[in-house]
Amino acid sequence: MHEKLKKTLALLLAALAIASFAAGCGGTNSGGGGGSGGSGDEEEILIGVMVPTSGSEAYYGTDMYQSYMLAVEEINKAGGVLGRKLTLLQADDGCDSNIATSAAELLISKNVDFVVGGYCSGATVAAMQLYFDEDLLLLISAANSTGITQLGLDTCFMLNSPGSHAAVTLADLCKSVGSSKVALIHNGDEYPQNLSKLCEDELPKHGIEIATVQVVDKGASDVSSVVTAIRNAEADFVYWCGYHADGSNVIKQLRQGGYEGDIAVGDGSASVELITACGDAGEGVYVTSPPFVRFAEGGDRFVADFKAMHNLEPGAYATLAYDTIYVLKEAIEKAGTLDTGAVKDAVQNINYKGLSGTIKFTPDRELEISNFIIIQIVDGDFQLVTI
């Protein structure tokens, strides 16, 4: 009952936000373009941005939004797309299915031309059908559960490597460090659970045994009994499939509980905050990571521009977000129109070389070439690992 009320309140707040938008005070949430937040303007291309800017994943959502802003500013400075300027309109999905649907309704009501965003897979899945029904193109920058493309909605493209690519990367990593018994831990959320399942299917194909699969409650404090179960299963490698706040807890308690094998975490935990949160326990932890900007080709210029604009370091999904806008730009220019069908076909056939790697889509609208890299925490900083 308690949680429900909290959700109800969140919905009420979202409704209030919509009301305040309708009243015309939503100017703070649109940016990057000519400055005026008006959506009825024929001259501008309005891009809806759906990312979490509140809740546990707010850090990533904000990071992505800032990256979109950078790309939009660059494009507008260079003359825009088809001679028209880009404008962003942001809505918070709170990494929560309920809030995500209100966010989608907000964007649809503002007549956005395209939608980008999507960090949490669960929230993204909840909103996708709404966009599809409105025949809106959705470019998903970060969320990457294979559950997204399995819905078969042909206006939704996933620009991040799906979890199945991460499973292959993990198998390579296990082989290179000589591990043969892997324990998987997830927290029951859409993406972590999906990733865990994909690893369960993939690893045995490479001769790697799954020692045990464990689940921890989201936000749970004590996982020591899970640690004991993992030690008892004699796993020599632990893979955390969830997000970084809970992940740091898991890593610390694994080390406290006397686990001595290797630890890796999934892309949901790929954040510099993981290093701070883990402290000494984080040393040596591997991350199957999305294309981290500082290891990307041409990343230095991007980091410098990002810092100049926001006075912040870009995070793990900044490159993907940045590329998303450029993919959209190229597709619109190829299509020569804003018509969803034409732009959709252009996206389907795109071959774009961006910061995050080569963006090319399979017929299922997933990324064709894996963009996963392996990084490791060494002396309190991330280092690229080549295997």
Binding site: H2, T212, G219, S221, T228
Partner: protein
């Protein structure tokens, strides 16, 4: 790797540590219920506020003094802050409703919970905060494959000391006697000249202070705090106090420890995805046979 008994012992330790958190928070639920028959749903959030105070104060002062002193002071600040918060909540949201139906009081409690939850969410920008490093948590005693860290030992010691002090306080002091008297018959207490409102305020502060002890221990032990951390613990602590017999002080402790142990052994026997099913099935069974909880007394209708 582990022998059977090593596993049992290790999971027993794990469950005991987890259970002592539940027990400390459950005490607050139980005391308040015992006195004014209110399910104080804001209690989990007061625990969260305590953890945040502890972490913020420690981050501020840790550079100027040795670690143990910093932690003690931070803990003290957390207890004070939570006690004050508990008092304010009681004064503003509960006291005006004391004569209203209990359901109104319950709604008021949910309101307080939402206020604290969202206030901390806004103040922290909904980000997790992390405990500055420097405390070595991984050293401890090993016996075979079983390990118990010094941190765990001190947590258990602190929790049991707090619970023992509370028991002595309630059974030996005048104020404790007044609390028990109000629990039995509030109206009679008014007639006997007991300052009921003051005692109720004090009960809230005491319960909130204990929750802050748990919150402070949490932030030292686990090293991170989030605005949403109170929810799960609140629900588990509420469950604990019902199992132990809501209103009963030793019952809350017993219920908390029992729930922690059940979760640990549930994880071991059925896997972590089934641990709650395991724990709660057993709890339903207990309630089926002892509807008033393990140590609860059957409600006697007063004439």
């Amino acid at each position: 790797m582990f022998t059977f008994w090593e596993i049992v012992l290790q999971q027993f330790i794990n469950g005991l540590v987890l259970g002592s958190f539940y027990a400390l928070v459950a005490l607050g639920y139980s005391m308040v219920y015992g006195i004014i028959k209110l399910l104080n749903f804001a209690h989990g959030d007061i625990y969260m506020a305590g953890a945040f105070t502890c972490l913020s104060v420690y981050s501020l002062i840790s550079g100027y003094m040795p670690g143990w002193l910093g932690i003690s002071l931070a803990m003290l600040a957390a207890i004070l802050a939570s006690a004050i918060l508990g008092y304010i909540a009681q004064r503003v949201a509960y006291r005006p409703l004391l004569s209203a139906p209990r359901l109104s009081l319950l709604i008021s409690a949910i309101g307080v919970s939402l206020v604290i939850y969202n206030a901390v969410m806004v103040m922290t920008n909904s980000k997790a905060m992390f405990f500055p490093g420097g405390i070595n948590k991984s050293t401890g005693i090993s016996y075979g494959h079983v390990t118990i860290t010094y941190m765990q030992i001190s947590l258990l010691a602190a929790a049991f000391a707090a619970m023992a002090a509370l028991t002595v306080f309630i059974s030996r002091t005048k104020l404790g006697k007044a609390m028990r008297a109000i629990a039995i018959d509030t109206d009679a207490c008014y007639l006997m000249g007991i300052n009921v409102n003051a005692v109720i305020s004090f009960t809230f502060m005491l319960g909130s202070g204990l929750a802050a002890v748990a919150g402070g221990m949490y932030c030292v032990y686990y090293g991170n705090v989030q605005y949403s951390m109170g929810y799960l613990v609140g629900i588990k602590a509420f469950t604990s106090s019902v199992i132990g017999g809501i209103g009963s002080i030793p019952g809350a402790m017993l219920g908390g420890l029992l729930l922690g142990l059940l979760e640990a052994f549930g994880t071991q026997m059925l896997g972590s995805s089934w641990k709650d099913v395991f724990a709660f099935s057993l709890l339903i069974l207990i309630l089926a046979f002892k509807p008033n909880g393990l140590l609860g007394k059957p409600e006697v209708a007063r004439m």
